[in-house]
Amino acid sequence: MSDPMLGLTMLGLIVAAIMMGFPTAFTLMGMGMLFGALAFFDPAQHWWENRIFDLMVQRTFGAMNNDTLISIPLFVFMGYLIERSALVDRMFRAVQLAFRRLPASLAVTTLLVCAFWGMASGIVGAVVVLMGVIALRPMLNAGYDVRLASGAITAGGTLGILIPPSVMLIVYAAVAGQSIVKLYAAAMLPGFFLATMYIIYIMGRAILNPSLAPKLSPELYRVPVPDWLVRLEIGPENRIVGGLLLALARPGMLQDATYLRLLKNVAAALLPLLLTIALFSLAWWFVLVRNAPVDATVPPEMMIERSVDIQASTDLSTPGDEDEESSTTEAGAVPLGTTALSPAAGAQADHVPEGFYTQFWGFAAFMALLLGYYYWRMDGEQLEILKMLTVSVVPLAVLTLSVLGAILFGITTATESAGIGSIGAMYLAGMQRYPRLALWGTLIGAVIGASLGTIQHNTMTIIISGVLGGLFGGAAATWGRDLLGPLRMLDILRQSVFLTAKTTAMVCWLFVGSALFSAVFALHGGQQLIEQWVLGLNLTPLQFMIVAQLIIFILGWPLEWTEIIVIFIPIFIPLLAHFDIDPVLFGTMVAVNLQAAFLSPPVAMSAFYLKGVAPPHVTINQIFAGMMPYMLIVILLLAIMYMWPGMVLFLPEFLYGR
């Protein structure tokens, strides 16, 4: 017995059932079991032979075998490890000093650190509480407006769940059968655009009305410069670079400081230059070497066809299953550094994009000018700030960017990147505790890795294998030392492991429940009925989009993103094709939309988290008032995204072709 009306009843009941507060995974499971038993009811059978029991097990096994969800525990583990090992307090101090000359520098710093921190973990509550402790009081003490200060914290904390690597997008990918890689690429630009708009808003308010964010008194951001560095400064502008170089040649200038110390400072000063060079050579390598065609005799048409085939199989694949496999065969089967046919290369017959050289050298010249100016102006204080940034921000930034870069450029699959990211997070934790040991481990590992890499006779492979080897070596040395002896890091590891287990169990059991629920819903024909009904409304794509986003916005008030994505997105996904809306665009818009929902009064949880740590004179209404403008900015962004989908789809299409 199956009946579309039963399907609709399911849908109506599920909202009520979730609001009853029972664990959602089991609510979905139970509803699926009850209505499924009705659908499969057969009077000739005993009730215990009902096929719903088998469906339940099949769906569970499906979730256990789902290779999109597999990257969730790895990313979550990486996030928890980073949260517990890197020091947000030092990061805040360093970034604040670096931005001290900007208007409303404290608020801008808060926003950036919040977003950066949330990227790792994707958990809003902890970020807001932590930043509430670290940043709110300094801002209020400096005379910042309460609303401006609280808005920066809540908006920044929420931003973290959008910017990749975000767990929310993985869950969306698994639910909608899209590729994680494409979703990550799609969310990059809107995420950074949103962050930029927030910063423009904060600085704009501060410029228009300086009393909202008074300038800090100079002694709050004065950086102590050691005496020997002061002696190296040249001229009234205290320029340091010349002095450092001179001292390299004439160690006598150092007096009491050791030569090693000078070398360390020079290395820190060189870091921006090195990072820039590394970035540009990677871009060069990616475009010119990696994307070069395998065999020049392959006619361009065939290559286009092949990439179209790959795309088609990706698009048609059900719950993201074949996705990763196909990207594995694309990028994985071919060893790194040899000439792989990546989709982007296939889409363009000529593998070097038009105007690449002009753009490349243009950017390079621009960066060279910028760096030149930076080094020309650098004084002792600036060098000290750079050293603080090197310790607190750079390692984490390099790790996050390499994980993301490896995914986005199709070098590894999302799962593989997440695995390497977890090891990288362990490396960072080890490096904090045992810097010297980490250095030696890295060096030895890098040598072993690079020598293993020589079997491929390819410079890039040797470099990358050296980096990987260094990563493994450093992590192994520090953790081996710690676990065999002092056990100082065991606590961090245990906490991360257990929290990962709980979070993964929560998300994946929810997925099991929803898999059963949606199977039964489809069995009853409920999905069809909804489709007919929606199509019968004769909505234009714009109207449909507005209605869909509005529903999700309202659902975002009482529910958490896990529930919204796992339960309600499957209902919208089949409708998208009718309205010719790209599921990747839709997913990104949902992710952005949830930002607005989580910033909207009067139910947004982050406001209450912040209220919990704020001084008593800050009222909940002030916090809500502070969040409002950010919510409006998000809604503005949604409108821009819909009117100009290119912002979302540009990067995925650029990287993977259409």
Binding site: T27, F61, P73, A126, V133, I134, G332, F472, G612
Partner: protein
């Protein structure tokens, strides 16, 4: 042996088994890392790595289901629920455990047993690659995890009954929570003043209050501490 002891004993069983299998995440990270090196650098990919990865991940999340339940870590739509009195909460939970929870989890144990048993009988191997590894032991985790979750579910039902009688939620085992990171961070910080440190030490209460959309003073912790 009081009821509370029985409850906590079962909680301990769930937590212990969950924490044991939780370590699979470290294994998964290492396996993936080593495979990246093998595949891309040494050009020697492992054919059964796909199966191994899903086995590690699938076993991890299934076997931690009971642990998450024992810690009340499964997400709830607690917008209304959070503001109810404990007795109302317990009544609702009790009814829904019987109506929603039992059928699905019994299916996992009962049909899952048949599913795994068949797999053992036909000596089933994975079909991801031509010569896949055996997967019957992987499938066996479905009924095993189901049994653990079911056991924990019975305990949760008893908790509801106890709460209905006493009007208070019986205590749960103490465990690490997400919000604890605030304490870790503040303990290691250099620039935070003592007043803020004091505030941060109440982070768990702040989280509870926020979940119920209330201020810090009211709303005792769901389940409390033993």
């Amino acid at each position: 042996m009081t009821i509370q002891n029985v409850l906590l004993t079962v909680d301990r069983i769930s937590a212990w088994s969950g924490k044991l299998f939780a370590w699979l995440i470290v294994a998964l990270a290492l396996v993936v890392g080593v495979e990246v090196f093998k595949r891309y650098i040494l050009n020697a990919p492992t054919p059964w790595i796909f199966d191994l990865n899903s086995m590690l991940y699938g076993t991890l999340f299934m076997m931690c289901g009971a642990y998450a339940l024992a810690q009340n870590a499964h997400v709830r739509g607690d917008f209304l629920y959070g503001s109810m009195r404990p007795r109302t909460q317990a009544g609702l939970d009790l009814a829904l455990y019987i109506l929603f929870f039992i059928p699905g989890i019994v299916a996992l144990v009962y049909a899952g047993y048949g599913y795994a048993e068949l797999s053992w009988r036909i000596n089933e191997h994975s079909n991801v690659t031509a010569d896949g590894p055996p997967i019957y032991h992987f499938k066996s985790f479905i009924p095993i995890a189901g049994a653990l979750v079911l056991l924990q579910g019975f305990v949760e039902i008893v908790r509801c009954v106890v709460c209905l009688r006493t009007g208070e939620w019986p205590a749960r085992l103490k465990d690490v929570e997400e919000i604890d990171v605030v304490g870790t961070q503040i303990a290691n910080s250099e620039y935070v003043d003592t007043e803020s440190r004091e505030v941060a030490s109440h982070s768990r209460d702040i989280e509870d209050a926020a979940k119920h959309r209330g201020s810090t003073e009211s709303s005792p912790r769901h389940g409390g501490k033993p």
